[in-house]
Amino acid sequence: MGEHVDDQMVVQAQGGDRDAFERIVNVSFDRCHGVAMRLLRDREAAEDAVQQAMVNIWRDLPRLRDPSRYDAWSYKLLLRACYAEYHRTPRWMPAIGDGTTVEPHAGDDYGAVIDRDQLERGFRRLSMDHRAVVVLHHYLDLPLDQVASVLEIPVGTVKSRLHRALAEMRSVLEADTRPVRRQGSAQEPHYTTSLKSGERRVVR
């Protein structure tokens, strides 16, 4: 996933070298922006979060004792900024997309049924805690122990959050692929799936 920040740049930036930090920002911006964008699902919120995270990184950088741990440390600060932005942004505000439409995948086995909208809807149902696990593991490709380290939670919690997050997204896909029963009645039953128990309930 692109270039990585090297220790030398970090040490220089720790000493107050602005140019070194600008190089760090250049190197890590796309990755940070990608994380924020995937977590927050909103371009403006993601930009604000990244900007705030970078400023916080610069401010606290001299306190980072081990430059080789920069990546994990910077992700912590980025996630913190994303959480803050998530709580700051009104929840009812609809995400404004960039207007592009994406065709369903044709190259994989699930292309016929899974498009971005379905996954998007499933992902939006997740809490920030669950989103963070999914993004760190599946987008940044961090192993579970590193995810646990960044989030400062046990590995077991990471596993359970990841499992639950994927199950929830999967439940959206299942609901969308289920045929709607039409009986000519004004009251059509709508099926939904409870994630905790796995049982299906009929909601009128």
């Binding site: 920002v25 911006f29 930009e47 400023v55 610069w58 592009t100 994989d108």
Partner: protein, 354 residues
């Protein structure tokens, strides 16, 4: 075509693929980086409180380079490996030194004065502490007096009352502090209750009656044989045997004239025709003038038994002044003044309500 939902195992791959779908560089990334750097220019970096962790062992890369550099690198690595614990020990030594200095400084600080409300454990301790409080250390009054402790000063024409250490502090130290004269006369009370009489040089010889409960003074009533402390010069006790004998003889006659067998005739041989007897209770003062009025109260009760010795004050020629503590009302103190062998003033302080 029947739609197929990925199973749990494949779901991760689907999500991963979706995550990278459309992952293109941000169009205005340079503008955003410019904004970030603009804010960075306005932000000061936070410095470490402690420059470097002294207990940290720096990771040394293995010296597997060329033969001519390998030796020096290994040497440097060893030197640093030795120096790191030395640095840690030096840091510890500095911390111990600073800690010791702080402890020494704390130990040198004089102990704070006892907390307000702390009670004295013995009557001697309380009396000594209270004398200090009245002789230039009024802050100790909060220690010797109960929060609602009362001090009264009864003159011929009035009684001044002060409640609580703060009010008492206003009169404590008057005239440079009281000078105690004569013996302290302790009056036996129940366990935890202390009552005693003491005598002061002010106003020609004043007598005070004290009552302490649980080590703190709750009452401190003083009687001054004049209109004010300043009307008569400071008194002292006398050791003149003739004076002491005259006082003893008159006091014995006076005590004999009181009680169930009292008579006007007997009182007229002790009291001057215009003699004044006052009884100062906690809530009132009663005054009787002349033997006839005094006879009304002299008949009450049983005879009076003295507690402790009499205290004889210095007095002008032809006059006698003394004080004594009697068993009336659980311990009352009386001041006497006589001229030409007849009592002219007989003022008593009784620690009860009238």
């Amino acid at each position: 075509m029947t739609p197929r939902v990925p199973d749990d195992r494949d779901m991760g791959e689907v999500v991963r693929s979706w995550m990278f779908d459309g992952d293109e560089p941000t169009a205005d990334r340079n503008r955003q980086i410019g904004r970030i750097m603009g804010r960075v220019d306005e932000t000061r970096q936070r410095r470490r409180l402690w420059p470097r962790n002294p207990f940290e062992r720096r990771v040394m890369r293995s010296a597997t380079g060329t033969s001519d550099t390998a030796g020096s690198t290994t040497l440097a690595a060893r030197a640093i490996a030795i120096l790191v614990p030395v640095r840690a020990m030096a840091t510890l030594a500095v911390l111990v030194l600073v800690g010791s200095m702080l402890l020494y400084a704390v130990a040198r600080v004089p102990p704070p004065p006892p907390l307000a409300g702390a009670a004295a454990s013995t009557l001697d301790e309380l009396v000594a502490l209270n004398l200090r409080a009245w002789s230039g250390e009024p802050e100790l009054l909060a220690e010797t007096y109960a929060p609602e402790g009362v001090h009264t000063a009864t003159f011929y024409d009035r009684t001044n009352e002060y409640v609580g250490p703060d009010q008492i502090a206003a009169v404590a130290g008057y005239g440079g502090g009281p000078e105690m004269i004569g013996p302290r006369i302790d009056i036996r009370l129940d366990e935890g209750d202390w009552r005693w009489a003491s005598f002061v040089s002010l106003g020609g010889g004043s007598a005070c009656l004290w009552h302490a409960v649980d080590g703190q003074i709750v009452r401190h009533d003083c009687m001054v044989p004049e209109m004010s402390y300043q009307n008569r010069p400071a008194a002292s006790v006398t050791t003149d045997p003739d004076t002491l004998a005259a006082i003893a003889e008159l006091d014995a006659r006076l005590l004999g004239a009181w009680g169930r067998e009292s008579s006007l005739e007997a009182l007229e041989t002790v009291y001057a025709p215009d003699a004044v007897h006052t009884a100062r209770y906690l809530n009132t003062t009663r005054t009787y003038t002349g033997p006839a009025e005094i006879a009304h109260v002299a008949l009450l009760g049983s005879s009076i038994e003295p507690i402790g010795d009499l205290v004889a004050f210095e007095a002008p020629p032809g006059e006698l002044a003394w004080a004594g503590v009697g068993t009336v009302a659980g311990g009352a103190v009386c001041l006497y003044h006589a001229v030409d062998g007849l009592v002219t003033r007989h003022d008593c302080l009784l620690p009860i309500r009238g």
